[in-house]
Symmetry: C2
Subunit: 310 residues, 2 copies
């Protein structure tokens, strides 16, 4: 394996679990990579990894790093408040030069805005602390996908739709020439109506969330629907929606209810089981890339091909 250069920075919340962060850095080093940690990666200001200027400068340094991958320390909250000051052109240029930007959760804000402003492709994927620094070691699939990205070998991803949702695949003939986009539903919904929301027609929209009750997930999906966004997609892929607590008065209202109702309201297929979200086993997904999706029984394959010759 060729040694790769990984730049780690903190654009969102302050790193609280420093032990996990250090484990993550060590794990990446143990894999043989050159790991460069941004000077402000462990800064703290209120809830944030440094004040707004500090985090904006960190994004700039990540863009200037000429690393193979710029990886976030963690998500949390912090990017939506600085969307009008992010150096999008510098990030897009860095991507053109071969630096892949990887992150998730709050990072959805930067990625979506970047796509809206420049069309540049970035990756939904792991964070240092929660993924590489996981107490019982990083997830094998996540690590394999990350390695594929580093070596320019990732061409796609596959997963099996859960049995209970098999029907959602009936009549699905596959699709191609669609733009993959999405990420954290809550963050994405918080961009609606703003210039940072990507105007993607005939796309493949993937969504995940954490600690959001199904009624809130439904309200956000309905916002996308009422805004006309869902009617313009070729497919909606649902990843994991974790951490929400059921309450007795839900009386059967849950994520399955939400997905089932959505299927009655939009034409595009709503496919579940995407291995992505606030879970250890996550694939890497190129936000803004052209994809093909095919299905064989309950097995779904999404292909994006090579993007860079590293």
């Amino acid at each position: 394996m060729k040694k790769k250069h990984i730049y780690i920075y903190s654009p969102s919340s302050a790193v609280r679990d420093k032990a996990a962060f250090r484990r993550g850095v060590k794990r990446l080093q143990a894999l043989g990579h050159e790991v460069e940690v941004d000077e402000a990666a462990l800064d703290t200001h209120q809830r944030f990894a440094g004040d707004d200027a500090t985090r904006l400068a960190a994004i700039g340094r990540a863009a200037a790093s000429r690393a193979d991958v710029a990886l976030i320390s963690r998500g949390g909250y912090g990017l939506t408040r600085i969307l009008d000051a992010i150096p999008y052109k510098a990030v897009a240029k860095a991507i053109e030069r071969g630096t892949e930007f990887v992150g998730l959760s709050d990072f959805t804000a930067l990625q979506s805005a970047l796509l809206a402003k420049t069309g540049a492709v970035s990756w939904q994927g792991p964070a240092v602390g929660e993924d590489f620094g996981a107490e019982d070691g990083p997830d094998d699939i996540m690590e394999a996908c990350f390695d594929d990205l580093l070596h320019g070998q990732g061409e796609g991803s596959g997963w099996r739709v859960p049995k209970r949702d098999a029907e959602s695949l009936s009549g699905f003939r596959g699709l191609h020439g669609a733009t993959l986009w999405g990420g954290n539903l809550c963050v994405l919904a918080s961009l609606l109506g703003t210039p940072y929301f990507p105007a993607i027609d005939k796309g493949v929209l993937f969504l995940e969330d954490v600690n959001e009750h199904p009624y809130r997930v439904e309200r956000m999906l309905d916002q996308l629907r009422h805004a006309g966004v869902l009617a313009r997609q070729k497919a909606v892929l649902l990843g994991h929606f974790t951490g929400a607590r059921k309450v007795p008065h839900d009386r059967g209202f849950d994520m399955q209810t939400v997905a089932a109702r959505l299927r009655t309201l939009i034409k595009a297929p709503v496919l579940t089981g995407l291995p992505f979200g606030h879970v250890p086993t996550k694939v890497l997904l190129p936000v803004g890339a052209q994809v093909e999706v095919a299905a064989d029984g309950r097995d779904v394959f999404m292909v994006w091909g090579h993007r860079h010759a590293h």
Copy 2:
């Protein structure tokens, strides 16, 4: 006092606290009113006060009731998912005929959409259960405001800006000819980008919320800001933001931080202390009405004058 006709219905979540609901109905009857309870007011389907068709029919019956006031049993969740099926014209006609629609929280969705679609004025105000059915009796100020509405005597409202925010009034010369609008921030933000979000220029926007951490409040305010909504307002009024739990890693990030930052980002004054929200002491506020706002020291007066000659 003239006996008034009050129609009670449930457009959102199922009534769980039936004792409070009954206390509320009795209280309104004890005040001498004719209280008509919608046939589906206590229905339950999943989390909702009946399925979508049931709640839509209830809204239709409220509009057809020819009551003086149509009052919600409670808020919760249920209106955003049926925004494309609400009989807006029927509600607007009922308002023209003299039925005042009153509610809050989830009801913000119906009121905002109604304003966007028809321009009709409705009221942010109490709900039956939590307000009239409060265990230690309804709040005096709320009840007085409600009585003013019933008898067409409400002309405005006044409050004192907290001492810590006195500075926000410096340079405030008052305003007039502005449209008052707003309500629950979370519900309002969930309409952004959709046809149900009112396009109000030079308005007075009031906001409240419950159980939303300050970082989520800030994210929603930033969504309004990034969407250009806040730049188009003459004033922003903040009511109560209650129920959120602070966590140690907030490290000083709170609602005061959020409001102080907002003041640095928008030109319109951000005035706090509005007696409205998920609190017992709430005034009634006409969504869509023209208002004047004046200040004397820390005392703010908002005037909307008579709307109907009852």
